[in-house]
Amino acid sequence: MTPLCLMEKVHKSFRMGEESVEVLKGIDLTIERGEICAIMGVSGSGKSTLMNLIGCLDVPTSGRYRFAEREVLGLADDELSEIRNAHIGFVFQSFYLLPYATVLENVLLPSLYRESVKDNARERAMELLRLIGLGERLRFRPNRLSGGEQQRVAICRALMNDPELLLADEPTGQLDSRTAAEIMNLLVAMNGRGKTVVIVTHDPAIAAYAKRIIRIRDGVIVDGQAD
């Protein structure tokens, strides 16, 4: 089987006024399907930029990036949106639930932007929430839930379109350690069900849940780029 993500000599620069700053300086990275790995690095190391590229939120300045058999470099904004919608589920540090929408509506969000609508979206969303133990809170607003519950809702949302990749950016950054463990176990369980899971973190305890740790420093991978 081909890898899910395949990066070769990926560079990424940002324009800062007149100057151009190179944040990623030649990344070679392979993420296999069904893998669970962590990307570790201090802030400013380029790990967030790497995550954005993996998640097709942004495109490399140069190099090659194949995601799910498609060359990402040169894709139009709309096509990137379609890839994110169909293949990637994001979990963010601060949950990013819509405050005015109910739990169920939040989980349904990715289904709104699907190219072809399956009419069982509601059932699937409710099933996901039931599995995760929030079946009774469908009509709640996010602000009535605890942090851990909110992150579980966010994970349901990430799973909504049945993506291949779960991309979690500091998923436990705002949770206490007990809740953090629950969330991590949930992500590991999802990996057990066949999802590829990538966790971006600076916390070794969190990275320890992954089978592989990719360390990034100053825009280059220093450890774990190949098994």
Partner: protein, 406 residues
């Protein structure tokens, strides 16, 4: 299409959630639209009214009132027109096919049994109905014979009839007009209160000769003259001729003002258009200014909203929303709000119009046009002023949006 509907459902959700923003945007739009609604309705009302009045008045008729403009302005009514003037006009103008002299008395007490009512009495020649295109709905019109005999007969306006007789049939009954017994021969069609400003359904019409001799003790002077011309296309010229003719007959010296006032259908149109025009201009300016202000209120509140909701935009983009999905969502929000504002504005306009009509008889006529103009303008404001913040939202880079939330 399905996708658009789903996006617009999201817009509606946000509009309902962000109540304060929606309320202020909608309110400011509503104020502008209500003013615009009134204008459109007033313009239409004015045209309709002018059309009706000219139709009633007779598009070929010239109306002459005795007394100079100054004296009327002071509320006096000098008598300067005479029966002889009417005869002379009839003789001098070949195309004047009907010359109707009239007298009028204000506030005459009329009574029937115990019912008393104060009404204006109009003295007219025969065929009142035909000269004024005003049908007699019960009984019959005044006749030549009535005029010759100085008959004590009367036509009643609808309101006077109702006040005196209630449900009783008035035709053939005898009423008292200033203690003189007068027989009711007919009832005029109800014209409605707003006709030409003021009530005209309360009049009592009697033969001119009877009114002059028995009520006014007057042998010579009359109050009004109405002249209808066959050659309607020359009405302006005829009017000038009439003016010169009457000035000559009344021996008004050169340079002195007319001792009478003369009106053509055009003057009535001018008067009404001027009356409505000034209000339309005022309300129109207010309406347009408030719509522009509303637009800026909307643009600013949306601009703030986009900044506040950067995280929402980020998460939507990360789960696969395209730029145009975000654009449509925010434009949809603007349009939903302005539509709601427009509808409220229309209702406010309706209410304000009712109030205006209550305060003063003002021709206002609501049709689908006022509604359509209001709705289109609110959409226009929504699109014009919503587009910038919406495209600003759509063009946020996903990575910026995701990062910029907290």
């Amino acid at each position: 299409m399905d996708r658009l509907i789903r996006i617009l459902a999201q817009s509606l959700r946000a509009v309902l959630a962000l109540k304060l923003r929606s309320f202020f945007c909608a309110l400011s739009i509503a104020i502008g639209i209500s003013a615009i609604t009134i204008i459109v309705a007033a313009t239409e009302g004015a045209y309709q009214k002018v059309f009706e009045i000219v139709e009633t008045f007779g598009p070929d008729a010239i109306f002459i009132v005795g007394g100079s403009e100054q004296s009327r302005g002071l509320g006096q009514r000098e008598k300067t027109l005479t029966l002889a003037d009417a005869e002379a006009i009839r003789a001098a103008f070949a195309t004047a096919y009907r010359v109707v002299p009239m007298s009028a008395l204000r506030d005459v007490i009329v009574s029937y049994k115990g019912n008393r009512y104060t009404a204006p009495v109009v003295g007219s020649t025969s065929d009142y109905s035909r000269s004024w295109s005003w049908p007699v709905v019960e009984g019959s019109d005044l006749t030549e014979d009535d005029l010759r005999r100085l008959a004590n007969v009367a036509l009643l306006g609808h309101e006077t009839m109702r006040e005196l007789f209630g449900d009783e049939d008035p035709v053939g009954k005898t009423i008292l007009v200033r203690q003189i017994p007068v027989q009711v021969v007919g009832v005029l069609l109800e014209r409605g209160a707003a006709q030409g400003g003021g009530n005209i359904d309360n009049r009592v019409v009697m033969p001119l000769t009877t009114v002059m001799k028995k009520l006014q003790n007057e042998a010579k002077y009359i109050s009004f003259l109405r002249v209808r011309f066959e050659d309607q296309e020359n009405l302006d010229r005829r009017m000038e001729e009439l003016k010169a003719f009457l000035r000559a007959r009344h021996r008004v010296p050169e340079g002195e003002p007319d001792d009478f006032q003369i009106f053509s259908p055009k003057d009535i149109i001018k008067f009404l258009v001027a009356l409505t025009g000034s209000l339309v201009a005022f309300v129109g300016i207010v309406g347009i200014i408030s719509l522009i202000v509303a637009g800026f209120v909307l643009a600013n509140l949306f601009h703030l909203s986009v900044r506040e909701r950067t995280g929402e935009i980020g998460i939507r983009r990360s789960v696969g929303a395209k730029k145009r999905d975000i654009l449509f969502q925010f434009l949809g929000e603007a349009l939903i709000i302005t539509t709601a504002g427009g509808l409220c504005g229309f209702l406010m306009g309706l209410a304000a119009a009712k109030l205006l009509q209550y305060v003063e008889e003002f021709p206002i006529h609501f049709t689908w046009k006022a509604f359509a103009v209001g709705l289109l303008l609110s959409w226009l404001v929504g699109i014009v002023f919503g587009l910038r913040p919406a495209s600003q939202a759509a063009n946020l880079e996903p990575i910026e949006a995701v990062r910029g939330a907290l």
